[in-house]
Symmetry: C2
Subunit: 612 residues, 2 copies
């Protein structure tokens, strides 16, 4: 039943040999790797305005363009830095690899922890933001915001369990639709004003300037806007997926990506200041601009909203591809549970996908699907991993000193410096509104991963065999001591008894008595079997059958010689329908789990199938 | 750790031999067995007024006294009926015993189901009502109504797990305090008005009569008031707990109980009509009367409130004693899970107590601790079990025809008729407001209990051994076929291997390959052990190790002769700290539970303890 359901929802199992994945050209690689970066533009401008407008009111738009310029500058630095990472890491240069390669284990884990948190937040922020695009267009759906977001996450989870990465066209078309419709919006808006001389009307009456511009305010706005840069590192992770020449193609995609972010982000910010758009309850900034430019209710307005929602969902999907991959790398290195390293029936890393589903759903529920409540948590991790990755590259150049290393070191060094400064700015200015959560989570995660590694090492050391392995095989097998507990002489017990007699001669049948009458009946029935080994009876005045039996086992165990084992044979009746077990005492399960914790006890289970 | 906690909270284990319980005299038996009946008086009058006042307003009090008289009449009928039950069932005549003895299995189960539901509701209604007495006195606690109620239920649960039934004084004192303070209240009220000529002032301005008195309205009010009679049957259950002459003492207690219910119920109803008390939000009727009679804030007022709360909690405690006992009887007959029949460490039926805790807590949460929402569910079950018990007695007289049987048959027959009529009245008039739930639950429960009995019979038939039991022992033990799965050659595997060699010679080491390189390493390491039996390797292209292994086991199992078994030896490493298991794939657990469902497979677990 469950199996059939699974096949319908997830699809048929795929062989390991079919794991080769599709290679991207530039045209189709761009949408797959850029959706995260491009989509963040749709909320970055809004987040800046949310900081500025309540303080500066009508005077917000000059600082807005300044901040946009600073962010675009930072984007350029990142592009040049990551071009160098692409050159050095043809097999994919994620922050975890680059930082642990060049800086060591702990910095690598810090990068991995920040990235993991970042991926979870990407899913939460992008789906919430996608939902906001939907609810802006259809205000009647506002009360179901959380439900819609959770539904989107569920869809992504199922899709990824099936393994949707295969189809780049599935990603390409909505991404290009978004790019074209948002560029059309920017172009139409500019043409209307500058060619046809339309005078832009502000969407809402803005308050007058309440306070002066302060550095802190600008830094806060800058921090919020930095979310526009999340996702830029995706290209350097994905190099092996490009068609040859893969590094060259990756660099091209990175350049195109930067160009798109530049055009869309500055275009949206410019239109926002032209139309004096401010954050409004339940209507996104992009939605306001689109309804200004195209008129609300027009086909183009709905196209912008629909493609915005779609690209945001694609962005969340990126995290669904990347976090499980990162976790599988960490699992291979023993820093997270091994189960994250194994591929499911459809070759996807199902456990990582399920974890991401759970964590992002919890975030959406806790933060009530409010994008702007999640944003303060978002960018710290991203910029911390940027910084570690750049610092790793810098270290690499300084250590190896090959070729044009000074020039390259300066680029990566400047990148590291700028991203570090940004990271500190974000951490400080957003500390109280949520960044503190991330700053607690990252070191905790690192500590936990180190602990897990230590545990795995300990298990490995305990189990591993040195070279002289043939010594371990015992020459003369010793005889078995067999203990067969009995509470009632029935067919199941007799089957176990017959089996026990194939194991050896030293059999002891052991009964814990809690009721004298029952014990007498048992004695009679046991006598009728006509056996030549003893029935040992022990009283349990406190009715604790398991404890009494375990105490007896411990006593017997203590009498064993070295390498000898005590075999406990447990009859177990098997009921065809599993839920019927709730009608039977599950004491034998607890007994088994206690027995198996004893070093010299072998536990044998003899099934007796109950016929329906 | 958990054990220590358990000992502190629940107390030290008690030996089975210490199970003799204390015997009651009339003085101390009365409070133990009557708390349920007496306490229901505190809400019965209120429930009648809640039906009448919204329709009849100021004209409610004449019908109130009429209905009270009808209920007192019903009480008398019940007393005479139950005197006869006490005579016939010296070992306790609960409805389940009486109905199944005389009417058969299904009527017995219907009585048991109604009683079980009734006990759960007793706990919910009484604790909610006890909380209402507390919140009436301290209005600041109103927002925590649900929490207070749940806390009370928790206290009762812990108390009963410890086994508080021992102390009749613990019960006696609050019950007598309640009786005295409520009688003092009635007396003071009457004296103030009739001796000192005080003119009673209505507590609230009542609305004028809105509609005419209808039969339906009166029946509804009567149904609500019938809750005053719940708990009357307790005495006939408890006969064996009385000091000799136990039947005579039980009858005396029953008479006293009826007298108390009569005095308190009619007294409260009379004072309510004298002071024109109506149901008010958050203040109980008893609380209103007490504050009229004694003045609010006086010591006597708080005494009434405190003892009301206490006796209601005692009433809930009765259910905590009775439901587990009923369940243990049902478990003995195989109608509910066997685990309800076994006594816990403190000799109480812990599973029944835990079930009652869960169900009543759910009710309190779902019905938000509102007594009057629960009342419509309450009385149907009680009166159904009354009816079945009386009908059973009637059948008994008619069947045996001994002595003065005609006279007795008339009494029980009249009792059966009246309780049946009442039961139908309650079911119909309260159907829409909740009784339908009970009318669905009772047949479902009965069907479920019949199903459970059928299941147990089937298991018993499968397992039981006929007389020729010595034939079952096989003469010539066959040789063992041993299968030892291996995924990695380590110390745990070697330990399992050494053990397997003590079992027999026909050993097959079996490996499922999901990764060629790993399989090659395994081959080399296995070769180094220098063994003379084969390593069988099978490929699993879909990475489903367990399924592949199980398919192999099925193939091997099919080749076995009759009475031969396949022994599968599973190495299992044991980690001292249990939560560390989450870092390891639990596939071996799933494998074991699948293997044990195969008829001819013995599963051996060989532990390997990982050192910290």
């Amino acid at each position: 039943m469950f199996k059939k359901m699974k096949t319908i929802v997830i699809g048929k199992a795929i062989k390991s040999a079919e794991s080769e994945s599709e290679k991207f050209s530039v045209i189709w690689g761009l949408p797959v790797l850029s959706s995260d970066a491009i989509s963040s533009v749709s909320y970055a401008c809004e987040e800046i305005l949310m900081v500025l407008v309540p303080v500066l009111g009508i005077a917000s738009y000059k600082p807005l363009m300044g901040i946009a310029a600073a962010i675009v500058g930072l984007l350029l630095i990142l592009v040049f830095s990551y071009r160098q990472t692409i050159e050095c890491y043809p097999h994919g240069g994620g922050s975890y690899s680059v930082a642990s390669d060049n800086l060591g284990k702990v910095p690598g884990l810090v990068a991995a922890a920040s990235l993991s948190i970042d991926y979870v937040l990407t899913v939460a922020v992008s789906t919430c933001s996608g939902t906001a695009a939907i609810t802006s267009a259809f205000p009647q759906t506002i009360p179901f915001r959380v439900e819609i977001t959770l539904f989107l996450i569920l869809l992504l989870t199922l899709g990824n369990l099936r393994g949707i990465r295969e189809s780049s066209i599935l990603f390409g078309i909505p991404t290009y639709l978004f790019i074209f419709s948002i560029i059309a919006m920017i172009a139409t808006g500019l043409i209307k004003v500058f060619v046809f001389g339309q005078v832009p009307q502000p969407t809402t009456a803005l308050p007058p300037q309440a306070q002066d511009v302060t550095i802190l305010l600008l830094l806060k706005a800058f921090s919020s806007g930095c979310t526009a840069l999340t996702g830029v590192e995706a290209v350097s992770n994905g190099i092996p997926n490009f068609k040859a020449p893969s590094q060259k193609n990756a660099k091209r995609v990175l350049a195109l990506l930067a160009l798109l972010v530049f055009v869309i982000f500055s275009g949206v910010c410019y239109l926002a200041s032209m139309y004096k758009v401010a954050h409004a309850e339940n209507v996104t900034v992009v939605s306001q601009i689109a309804s200004r430019v195209f008129g609300s209710g027009t086909i183009m307005y709905f196209t912008v909203q629909a493609t915005t929602a779609m690209i945001l969902i694609m962005a969340a999907n990126t995290a669904f591809a990347d976090l499980p991959l990162l976790l599988s790398l960490l699992a291979k290195d023993g820093f997270v549970a091994r189960s994250f390293g194994s591929r499911g029936a459809r070759l996807s890393f199902s456990n990582g996908i399920m974890l991401l589903f759970l964590l992002s759903s919890v975030l959406v529920i806790v933060f009530k699907a409010e994008t702007h409540l999640l944003i303060p948590l978002y960018a710290v991790g991203v910029f911390l991993s940027f910084t570690l990755s750049q610092t790793g590259m810098l270290k690499k150049w300084i250590t190896h000193r090959q070729g044009n290393w000074r020039h390259k070191a300066v680029i990566n060094g400047f990148g590291a410096l700028m991203t570090a400064v940004t990271c500190v700015i974000i951490a400080v200015s957003k500390f109280a509104s949520g960044a503190w959560i991330v700053l607690i989570c990252i070191p905790s995660l690192v500590a936990f991963m180190l602990f897990i590694r230590k545990h795995y090492n300990k298990v490995r050391d305990n189990l591993s065999i040195e070279d002289s392995s043939s010594d371990l095989i015992l020459e003369n097998p010793t005889e078995n001591y067999i203990l067969l507990p009995v509470q009632s002489v029935n067919k199941s017990f007799v089957k176990a008894l017959n089996y026990a007699m194939t194991l050896g001669k030293k059999i002891e049948v052991y009964h814990v008595s809690t009721n004298k009458a029952e014990t007498e009946r048992l004695k009679v029935k046991f006598g009728q079997l006509g056996l030549d080994f003893p029935l040992l009876i022990e009283e349990a005045p406190y009715r604790n059958i398991n404890e009494t039996l375990l105490a007896h086992v411990d006593k017997e165990q203590a009498r064993l010689n070295k390498h000898e084992m005590l075999t406990v044979v447990l009859p177990q009746f098997v009921i065809p329908k599993r839920w019927h077990y709730m009608l039977h005492n599950q004491t034998s399960l607890r007994l088994k789990s206690a027995l198996v914790r004893r070093r010299d006890v072998a536990v044998v289970t003899i099934p007796y199938i109950i016929n329906e």
